[in-house]
């Protein structure tokens, strides 16, 4: 069953589009990795869905199906209604767990605030539920943790606390914006596992935003690659890592050395140039200037559509490349 259906999402800040016609949909309980380099528009897109951009024009729609069967458009809802949705149906966690917690309130005060807002719990009940939640996210001594201010916790513990606050309202959808980028690699693995087990337990869908394909591979069911504000590939994770169809995806995979296959090669495949700035995009494929498979036509003259190249049982694979068929051979 579809949880979220984003159609033609566009964001601009009065100039060229930063997020340009992004469409995708995700099923209930699915983990979708939104992958892209800086400037790809992945964070802007997610903040736009949350209504947290503060400024800018947002177009398109993002229909979220709530557990009670109602549907709500995350782009169109008013501020009052959004407050009822955020935290209860959609939550978000961010990259830097230290600055994401209020430095002058204890963990307990911050958790109780969320619990009273979304669950109507106060006093002893809120305290009990907070302990339960912290326990659920793998914090060993929840009572002690509640009395501390965030600075006294390690990075991994802080991110766990934030996850606990995000799931307090039992949301259907969690947006995670680079939640493990600031963490050490051993802690990162623990947090990724935690997110997977929370999904298994609650059936919560997740949009996981990252620039790191290896991390995406560790957790995602489905990978969506963004380039210069557009979706350029949307594929099941297995299919994607086995055979990416878009030349950009291939380059991205090749440029990041994995720890199993690095020795001996000694040079990494590279991409020339850089992501075009929003004002410097041509009419054709936005990746064309950097693409080895580029042909003057149609690559430079016409923007390729997002083509569905495989449409199995629940397994859509789409790519924005006019030459994908030739290249696949």
């Amino acid at each position: 069953m579809t949880l979220l259906s984003v159609r033609d999402l566009g964001v601009d800040f009065g100039g060229p589009l930063i997020v340009d016609g992004v469409s995708f949909s995700m099923k209930k309980g699915e983990i979708v990795a939104l992958v892209g380099e800086s400037g790809s528009g992945k964070s802007v897109a997610s903040l736009a869905l949350m209504g947290l951009l503060g400024r800018g024009n947002i177009t398109g729609s993002a229909m979220l199906r709530l557990n009670d069967g109602r549907e709500t458009d995350l782009v169109r809802i008013g501020p009052r209604e959004r407050r009822g949705v955020l935290g209860r149906h959609v939550s978000m966690i961010f990259q830097d767990p230290l600055s994401s917690l209020d430095p002058i309130q204890t963990i307990g005060a911050q958790m109780r605030e969320v619990l009273s807002l979304h669950c109507g719990l106060r006093g002893g009940k809120a305290q009990a539920r907070a302990i339960e939640l912290l326990h659920e996210v793998g914090i060993v001594d929840p009572q002690a943790c509640l009395k501390l201010i965030p600075q006294r916790l390690s990075g991994g513990m802080r991110q766990r606390v934030l996850i606990a606050m995000a799931i307090a309202g039992e949301p259907e959808l969690l947006l995670a914006d680079e939640p493990t980028t600031a963490l050490d690699v051993t802690v990162q693995a623990q947090v990724l596992r935690l997110l997977l087990s929370l999904r298994a337990r609650s059936g919560m869908g997740m949009i996981f935003i990252t620039h790191n394909l290896a991390v995406a591979s560790s957790i995602a069911d489905r990978v969506i690659v963004l380039y210069a504000g557009q979706v350029v590939e949307d594929a099941p994770a297995d299919a994607f890592f086995a055979a990416p169809a878009m030349p950009y995806s291939k380059a991205l995979l090749g440029a990041a050395p994995g720890i199993d296959s690095v020795f001996g090669a000694r040079r990494l495949p590279t991409l020339r140039g850089q992501v075009p700035a929003p004002g410097e995009r041509g009419v054709g494929c936005r990746f064309a200037p950097r693409c080895d498979a580029m042909r003057p036509t149609p690559c430079q003259t016409q923007m390729p559509d997002l083509l569905t190249i495989a449409d199995g049982e629940n397994e859509v694979h789409a790519v924005r490349c006019g030459r994908w068929e030739e290249l696949a051979r």
Binding site: D141, R160, D184, S197, A255, I259
Partner: protein, 323 residues
């Protein structure tokens, strides 16, 4: 084997810290008894998590931070005690590349002024070398009259490398030099460093936290944990046959392309372990620890040819099991 270009011998660094304004002063180890050699023309990787002391090692090797104990030898000469005017000529032999491309170039100078600084300090007034160096890093002379703000992160990192190379150093310390870059740009800079090593015979101390990048670029890799160097070995050997439980854990935790995690929770999840001052720093987290591990510090010993491990239980088979 030729003499090492840089030799760090038994270096420790302690800080006296006051916890808050009212707190009592206490001594903490940022580094503890770290020893290694950087050989001529080699790239030595240093990996470790935040707070492991890898950055401090780099700064101490450059004499930007004073070691509390131990010695630093540069090309066979003890430079630990040098200071002021005596230190300055030694400084040019070892140069630093930083993590944050936005802070590593003076925002109020043009690229020409920035790149002239090393030449001026070497007593050279001719600009020809600057243009030559720009070509080496893949940039044109038109860059000279721009300010750092007009360049992307990757370009600034190249300029930072050019500035370091203009000192004509023997050694480069690259402190998380590619960590802040996007993956494609990161690949370009990694390749550039490898080219430069081949071209100039540089020795590079490459500090990083991404095991893939460090493993790719380095000939040997040292692993640090809470201020101690726990293992050092040729990179293939280290990655395929780690002998320190911490190295094994690090390797197991690294995310892999195409490798999926399973959602089981870990036992030691959200707990803070105190660093023990006695015994092995990793003992509290180690599933192989025996009583001795907690009471006496392990010493570095050669567990395989050129493979050094500071673990009493280095005989265990810790080949990474993929999860």
């Amino acid at each position: 084997m030729t003499a090492p270009v840089l030799s760090v011998q038994g270096v420790s660094k302690t800080y006296t810290q006051r916890a808050g304004l009212f707190g009592r002063a206490s001594r903490t180890y940022a580094l503890r008894d770290v020893s290694f050699d950087l050989r001529a023309g080699e790239i030595l990787g240093l990996v470790g998590e935040s707070g492991s002391g890898k950055t401090t090692v780099g700064r101490i090797a450059m004499r930007l931070v004073e070691p509390s104990e131990g010695e630093i030898h540069l090309a066979g000469q003890d430079v630990t005690a040098l200071s002021g005017a005596a230190l300055r000529p030694m400084r040019r032999r070892i140069q630093l590349i930083f993590q944050d491309p936005s802070a590593s170039l003076n925002p109020r100078q043009t690229i020409r002024q920035i790149l002239r600084t090393p030449l001026r300090l070497r007593g050279i007034t001719d600009d020809a070398e600057i243009v030559r160096m720009l070509a080496i890093i893949g940039m044109g002379a038109e860059a000279l009259d721009r300010t750092p703000a007009m360049f992307s992160g990757g370009q600034r990192q190249r300029l930072s490398i050019a500035r370091a190379l203009l000192m004509n150093p023997d050694i480069i310390v690259a402190d998380e030099a590619v960590s802040a870059l996007d993956v494609c740009v990161q690949a370009q800079v990694v390749n550039l460093l490898l080219d430069l090593r081949d071209q100039f015979g540089l020795s590079i101390l490459f500090i990083g936290h991404d095991l893939g990048v460090v493993g790719l670029i380095s000939d040997r890799v040292g692993v640090m944990f809470r201020g101690s160097l726990v293992e050092i070995a040729p990179s293939r050997e280290l990655f395929e046959r780690p002998r320190h439980p911490y190295t094994a854990r690090l390797l197991a935790a690294a995310p892999r392309q195409g490798g999926k995690l399973t959602p089981h929770a870990e036992v030691d999840a959200g707990r803070l372990f105190p660093t023990s001052t006695e015994g092995c720093a990793f003992a509290a987290l180690c599933s192989h620890a025996i009583t001795e591990c907690r009471t006496t510090r392990p010493v570095m010993r050669e567990t395989a040819p050129d493979h050094w491990t500071a673990c009493r239980r280095a005989d265990l088979d810790l080949r990474p099991t993929h999860c």
